[in-house]
Amino acid sequence: MPTWEEFKPFIVTGLALGGVYALSGVGTVVLYRATGVLNLAFGAVGAMGAFIAWSLIDKGTVPDGVAFLLCILFGGVVTLVYGLLFGPPLAGRDPLVKATASLGLALILLGAMSWIWSDKARSLNLPTSTHTFEVGGVLVNWTQVIAFALGVAVTIGTGAFLRYTKLGTAMRAMASDREITATLGVPVRRVEAVAWLFSGLLSGASGLLLANLIGLDAATLTFLFISSLAATLIARLQSIVVTLIAAIVVGLVNALITPIFSISQYRDMAPFVLATIALLWMSRKREISFTRGAG
């Protein structure tokens, strides 16, 4: 059994990993709260944006900053186009159908990425990664801080936005029942478009950060996204704050298992096991079901 001294640095790496999960998880839940669509292509969109940024930087076509910006924009545009094309026809269907449709987008992007950028050792360098400071004997770099801060900022910002602004209320109403909201005179298509665009921009930004923090390859980023879904599940896709907290807890557990050699190999199971336990605990009394929007 490792000593406390040996565990300490893993708390820091755990928080960093939790921040990464949180960014992905919060971005997904935010869109769900606003449109009732669980966008399972969130991770793939971000990854593709990161690859595009890498290609542009590799060629030297544009300055690095512009490439990063284009990555974020790519996320926004692709998600927006998807939402505009496939949102309305599927609007009345079960959330499961809407989520499955987004799997279609995910597959398209994953296939495209694998085709265009075959697997090589690539890395995306962000200028903030080179600046570090020390916490508890472990070096932390500013990119990790940004990822964490962005997750928190989105949580607080979106929570407040959805609760206190008119547009936010319209979004929540739409996620609950689109048709009734439309009859109330809310410009549903426009509101939806805003939600999709914002979620897309967020996916581009998190793709950029994750590509730097975790690695630039599609398989890792996909697996990471699936792990981050665990946090969203624990929050039952409702509370953004719970998603954030759950993501951090999952990241911590995952990292803290690492130095325990006997079970270290199973550490990647942590997100899945935690999500399963949480869900089963919450469902023990009643059947959890989805109405046509966020519950």
Binding site: T13, L17, I52, I116, K120, A121, R122, L139, N254, T258
Partner: protein
């Protein structure tokens, strides 16, 4: 309603069309690499050395004439799937064969080389071998590089009398009479890296590998060598793809302890993650670092940057891509002309050497080139000298083959890999090496 239905029906088709246009644009942007650069943020440089060029050796007959007789069919199998792509090796072999075809072929006959890819599906790998031998009727199999192919197919090759020249990965590649690898394989490369660390006077070695079948087999050699040298040894595993490189690097460093050494055995993208995470946490000076041969690529050296200069000892089964030497020069020329998209590195060097061996063997055949004569020629290869390998390569009729059992250590320096230690033999404390050295002695191979 009807119009809407039609529009909705067309939507996916339109989306597909739009996507196709985007993909074409992206493919034009993304597919051409400017040689060895892999980082976002770094300028690209080619790996062409600034040293005075040695005269390159020749492909095949070297007479500049296009070959045009009946083609000689050769084939290969390589793994290609997300996370593992070994196609650089057969692609490099193909480049060499293309060069041979432009230079008189094999005594006038062009080589027709093609290879199958497999996605670690054993059924697929078995079917690929059968396709090559029974459908395509290749006379020889060259350039095989697959995680599973040796395991699945070695009995088939033994039964059909095919002597494969390839790159070994699975243990079975080093345990059958019908496969001779140009490389050393993970076990012996890890041995060599362990020997480097021991020379760096570490007290403990922490070996970290990707969690795929065979890790115990790979670790066994290094463990024996460490024990023999009085150095502690611990064997770690991590699932790939690695999500949390920070924790992995930290774990390895902690396991090695003070004055310890970390030995990584991963594919380049995963090793890169760990090394970058180690650097970001300032761990590159805490312990000594070593890596098995997949790390020996300029891609990695460039991506790592100056923080790692001289600090990572990479076991190199093959010479530097920038080495002086006629074969190395030919290698660079051939890759530049016939396979510009394949990066310079151990993978393409292996393919090059495998094709060169096969070509020389086939050129020495008097009479018809059939599967029987071709494979007999492969088996008879002896004393194949090349500056890409430390020692002359051979096939022979031994029960197993590890002809490449002497190698170097390289280290990243200024964005490139440079030599740190010259050729040294892999320790015969490892029983596999001991057996091979005994056979070499008995059969008069140096």
């Amino acid at each position: 309603m009807r119009t809407m239905f039609r529009w909705t029906r067309m939507r996916p088709a339109l989306a597909l069309l739009a996507l196709a246009v985007c993909l074409l644009v992206l493919a034009a942007c993304g597919s051409s690499n400017n040689s060895s650069t892999a980082t976002g943020g770094g300028g690209g440089t080619t790996a062409a050395p600034a040293k005075p060029a040695v005269a390159a050796s020749k492909c095949g007959l070297g007479n500049g004439q296009k070959a045009s007789g009946t083609p000689i069919k050769l084939g290969g199998i390589a793994t290609k799937q997300p996370g593992t792509d070994f196609t650089d090796i057969p692609n490099a072999a193909k480049a060499y064969f293309d060069c041979v075809n432009d230079n008189g072929g094999i005594n006038g006959h062009p080589v027709q080389y093609s290879f199958e890819t497999e996605q670690t599906d054993p059924g697929q790998a078995a079917a690929a071998a059968k396709k090559l031998v029974e459908t395509e009727k290749v006379v020889g199999i060259v350039g095989n590089t697959s995680i599973i192919e040796c395991t699945v197919n070695h009995k088939y090759y033994e039964a059909k009398g095919y002597y494969v020249i390839g790159s070994g990965i699975a243990p079975e590649c080093y345990g059958t009479s019908n496969f001779a690898p140009v490389n050393m394989g993970p076990r012996y490369s890890v041995d060599g890296a362990a020997q480097y660390l021991i020379r760096q006077k570490v007290k403990k070695i922490a070996l970290d590998q990707s969690n795929v079948p065979g890790t115990g087999y790979i670790a066994a050699g290094a463990q024996a060598i460490s024990k023999d040298a009085g150095v502690d040894f611990v064997n770690l595993k991590d699932n790939v793809p690695i999500q949390d490189a920070n924790s992995v690097a930290l774990k390895a460093v902690q396991a090695a302890g003070p004055d310890g050494g970390v030995l990584l055995n991963f594919t380049p993208p995963e090793a890169l993650k760990i090394l970058q995470a180690a650097q970001r946490q300032g761990l590159q000076d805490r312990v000594k670092w070593a890596c098995s041969t997949p790390c020996n690529t300029d891609f990695l050296a460039e991506a790592l940057g100056s923080a790692w200069d001289g600090k990572l000892g990479v076991n190199a089964e093959l010479n530097l891509t920038s080495a002086d030497g006629p074969d190395s020069q030919l290698y660079r020329d051939v890759m530049k002309k016939y396979a510009p998209k394949v990066p310079l590195g151990s993978f393409s060097q292996m393919g090059f050497v495998e094709a060169a061996v096969a070509t020389k063997a086939l050129m020495g055949i008097k009479g018809d080139i059939t599967p029987e004569t071709a494979n007999a020629a492969f088996k008879d290869v002896k004393d194949f000298k090349t500056d890409i390998l430390c020692k002359p390569w051979y096939y022979g009729d031994g029960p197993t083959h590890v002809p490449n059992n002497t190698d170097r250590t390289t280290t990243p320096q200024g964005g490139k890999m440079v030599e740190k230690e010259g050729c040294f033999p892999i320790s015969d404390v490892d029983p596999g090496i001991k057996q091979v050295r005994q056979w070499e002695q008995q059969n008069g191979v140096s």
